[in-house]
């Protein structure tokens, strides 16, 4: 189980609200030290385009992000993005994720992440060994401090 720090989660929610304004999708990457695989210490908000029904991360930003992670010995452990309505893992989510390595987690929040209790309706998907996203229970993979 990966532990998400309170600061990282607070930062993620702040990004969803300040960037999405309750009407646009938004995405953040939860990162932590390479040497501490079960710890998330920060939320990184990428440069991205968005609408009420999609987001797309800027490619140049992503290249630099990968170089920064290498330099910092920090790795993305979970991607989190919002949907306007209920949370699910759409075909677009399946095809456009950041990382395709078995065990990678993708968390989707409902209602643009506005509600403080948005984890109640969240959808967590995990990439399996066959490269297929499978729904998993939140409490089996993530916990919050």
């Amino acid at each position: 189980v990966i532990t998400v720090s309170a600061d990282a989660w607070s930062s993620a929610l702040t990004s969803f609200r300040s960037c999405g304004h309750g009407r646009l999708e938004c995405v953040v990457y939860l990162v932590g030290p390479v040497d501490s695989p079960e710890t998330i210490t920060n939320a990184v908000h990428p440069v991205h385009a968005s609408s009420a029904r999609h987001y797309e991360v800027d490619g140049a930003w992503l290249t630099q992000f990968w170089l920064d992670l290498r330099a910092d010995r920090t790795t993305v452990k979970t991607q989190v993005h919002t949907h306007g309505g209920r949370a699910s893992h759409s075909k677009r989510d399946d095809d456009g994720a950041l990382v395709y390595r078995p065990g990678f987690l993708s968390l989707v929040l409902p209602g643009f992440g506005l509600d403080d209790n948005c984890l109640d309706g969240a959808f967590l998907a995990e990439l399996d060994d066959e490269g297929i996203w499978q729904e998993v229970a939140l409490t089996e993979r993530l916990q919050w401090t």
């Binding site: 999708e25 999609h54 490619g59 290249t63 759409s90 395709y100 390595r101 060994d129 490269g131």
Partner: protein
């Protein structure tokens, strides 16, 4: 008399050399040949990182974000050799999804 330089010592005519590829803070060294197609290089590095899905959507990029291997956002595949891509010994390349997106639609 100065010893003659071997093929592998001469930068311009190397038979093979190493590059470093980084992916989500992991990194792998990859041996490449100047005449090798970048598509083969991409396949090799995807296998090294044990990426099991979406290989056709991956690309290799320089630190200046110039794509040197993989499928371009317009759907065209890059067909060029390592030499044509101007990939240099010990160069650090980024392996990433060409397009990262999501959403309800």
């Amino acid at each position: 008399m100065e010893p003659e330089k071997s093929m592998t010592e001469n930068h311009g005519t190397r038979e093979h050399f190493e590059v470093v590829v980084t992916f989500n803070a992991s990194e792998e060294e990859l041996g490449v040949r100047p005449a090798e197609q970048v598509s083969k290089m991409l396949e090799a590095v995807i296998a090294k990182f044990h990426l099991t899905s979406q290989p056709h959507q991956m690309g290799l990029f320089t630190s200046s974000n110039i794509q040197v291997a993989g499928r371009l956002p317009n759907g065209q595949d890059l067909h060029q050799t390592v030499e044509e891509a101007k990939i240099e010994p010990e160069q650090v390349l980024v392996l990433r999804q060409v397009v990262v997106s999501g959403g309800r639609q």
